[in-house]
Point group: D2
């Protein structure tokens, strides 16, 4: 038995559930999960996630895809994507010196809690080599300076080629618009504030100066617009006047670990659809 | 256009989504929400909630119900229930002296945030009469003593006849098994603890004596087993050694208001299915 | 027995606790609560809140104040304030049309959960008159237009004269800098977003457009800088793509009720000190 | 400069703050933190935590302790304890096969976030040896069977001798009353439920069967009464009918990590006083 997931976006019309479920039924699939959402009761945009199992012998991926494209998808003008769960997604990680988000990902992955292969970690610093290699994951350093940004990104692109998603686990370099364009909605970043509050540098310092009573973290897809990509997940923790900037950072790092982990897992489980710079998360 | 909801429970088999959605499609309905859950990937129990709109002219409720019973429901041996949203549910409330849960319900209802008609409030005390009547809701006192329990319950049953659901908004009398049997999964109670911790009397005192660091409240359906009915919703708030029993009560009452409100709204929106003394909540 | 509270701010030096507690001890007071905070381990600013009881016969307020001013306060160059708990604080409320924050305050107050007298509610609309008057609180309408802002504020000032604090329970008019100056750190506003995110108008719409996964509310003191005054309390609730703007508003109003209530209670209990546009909250 | 902390319990009387702060002042100490709590406004039990710095040259620990014992402590019949922060506490950890709680402690400790020395990890299984040793911490296996419980505990006692606190990071053996007696309020356990709900074995299974909507974890001191010792910290996470027992366990392990970490840190920072089987936590 093979497990697969279908993500669908189209203009909302009557009969979509019926059409998709009939298609799957007649191809021998059994639906195990189904979520849908429409932006309006009428005339909105429609989103669907279906998870189903089917005996591999009856229909292969290509057959299913071609049949679906030619029938239901064509009829409803769907944009859609089929994932086979057994095709484990490949993940590359970029990091600088902070290890908390990276280690949380590696640790969960090593316990079988992240359904992916972590193929490579790239950093602009040597610091985390032994931590990464102890998990049996290759580690490369790509130094980035003012002058070599283009070459550095080309080198990262070569190393990361073939991955399904890149995770910025506190990577302190800004990726160029050109680089980002190669990975549309496939780069996940963790920002250490409750966006849109405290965009830019040193958000814990900004939060301290402002005297907020909660600090947060935001996982989002990276777009050419810095800190403005679609938000996947956010969370906060309560703080008080007693928290210094470094106390905020220490607590905030726990939030970051937690938020990034959830966002990555949802992405790996094909739970996220992006529409109008916002996410639909079928969690 | 009429909005309706179908709640379904049956043994899990292939093709259910297809069968239900095809049925609705061919009767002219447009599915606006669909949730499903199965207790196991194979051989479990299957639950579904579908919300749909359909033009009243094409098919009336009775036609739909008979057709569904004879076809899909019969084929899959479903236990199922159809609600028409426009048939606003009738709610009766039982209360003693504490007003917080009652007022929260009345206040939200008066603002249009609870889709129901609150038909009557019955109490074993006079205290809350003017508070209730100021919302334009009839208020009756039914005194309960050791000796008149049977008659008192009969009187309550007469007053509450015709309601779809009863809410115990801190009603301090224990309803008899006979009474409860007349309202299966139609009586919602708010218990002032995080069940199953602190069953029985004076849970805030119990929580204080135990020194817990969180206090909670639980909304559940009432069964003959005291404090053991299916849990619909729970929540907690953080407390510390500084909280006296009355501080716990004061904070706990906020949790109760919040938890009961959500449970009642979910019930009114046909989001709750009970199975094996547990709830499936499609929220 | 009288209960009093002393709030102190001064440059941090050795011996402050000793000096204050000795002073109180020798005046016959018994300390029932003591909180302190310094912005740095050395050379910072020091804040203290002491609650104490003392037999009224031994020393009156004036005697205590004069003695404290002449000795400890002078020696440490303290800015300080003494409150007698029995001098119940007077609160005036400004509101427009939304009733949720107002009713929460009135309801808690009527149950004895807010230690104050609510003296008057002023609105720029008639809508909430009967709701307010049913609590036995005077209600006045002061219309505000482009042309009469100055006169309107003068009228509000006359009505509210003698109050200790003003609460803006969703008052949709911007108070002038002149008005605000008359009530330094004595006007509490509830802003319907997690500041500093979504300053300005229609924050729930902004939150919807941004696709945030949490929405919040912020209670803060009003300063001449709109939405920039010291934050007293904040909280958030989790939302998803399924929330429309009005769903966000409905849930957000619960957060607002809760956050404003806590901020007002802390202020009434002399738990808040403002320093550098941030609050120290001894909760 | 040396930093020290004084924890005090005594019958509540007037003048305690004055007496303690005067004592410290006259011995050249500067108070940097002070918390107090009394169980009643009059006639209760009084608890205090004072943190202070003092130049080591002026007064040594022994001098201070003797002077305090002979004066303030004797006068108020205090039970008290002085800790010198620079005397880093020694921590031994007991674990079985689950690694999540253990790794969280080791990882935070290795980052400097737990003020202690982790001296030794003892397990009844070999499984976690390399994980522990990679942090440079000695690891020993002490097998426990029905027949050797006495000898096994004697062996653990020898290995752990000299530690200030033992942490049971999911240690699946029940320690004997005799063993526990040697470590009064010095053994911290993490229980994988929101106590007092779900005492005993397999709490995630119990939580699943009950259908609770929140699952939790509880860190508590170990007493001879199984799962009944004073609660230090608790937390919960929201779950739904969709969580299988293993999903509950996976999420619950995150709560356990978080709750145990906080309890251990509070203990190490001398923030916890036990009274009547409950904790006062000056966090």
């Amino acid at each position: 038995m093979t497990t697969a997931r279908l993500l669908i976006t189209c203009a909302d019309r009557s009969g979509i559930v019926q059409a998709v479920s009939s298609f799957l039924y007649h191809h021998g699939a059994n639906i195990t999960a189904l979520d849908q959402y429409a932006t309006a009761t009428e005339g909105g945009t429609y989103f669907m996630r279906v998870e189903f199992v089917l005996p591999a012998l009856i229909s292969g991926r290509q057959v299913i895809e071609q049949a679906f494209a030619a029938s239901v998808a064509a009829h409803y003008h769907m944009s859609w994507h089929l994932s086979i769960v057994e095709d484990t997604k490949k993940v590359g990680i970029l990091v600088s010196k902070y290890d908390h988000a990276l280690l949380e990902l590696l640790w969960r992955w090593s316990r079988g809690l992240l359904p992916c292969v972590i193929t490579h970690v790239v950093s602009n610093h040597e610091d985390l080599r032994s931590a990464v290699e102890s998990f049996g994951v290759p580690f490369s350093v790509v130094k980035v300076t003012k002058d070599n940004k283009h070459e550095a990104e080309a080198q990262i692109a070569r190393i990361m080629a073939g991955n399904d998603v890149l995770v910025l686990a506190r990577y302190m370099q800004i990726l160029s618009a050109d680089f980002v364009k190669q990975w549309p909605m496939k780069i996940i970043n963790i920002h250490h504030s409750f966006l849109p509050a405290f965009v830019g540098a040193d958000p814990y310092r900004q939060a301290y100066d402002k005297g907020v009573k909660l600090i947060g973290a935001t996982a989002h897809y990276v777009t050419a617009d810095l800190d403005q990509g679609p938000i996947i997940e956010q969370n906060v923790e309560r703080v008080s006047h007693r928290y210094s900037v470094s106390d905020l950072r220490e607590l905030g790092e726990d939030v970051e670990r937690n938020v990034l982990t959830r966002a990555v897992r949802w992405h790996l489980e094909d739970r996220v659809i992006v529409h109008n710079n916002k996410t639909i998360v079928f969690d």
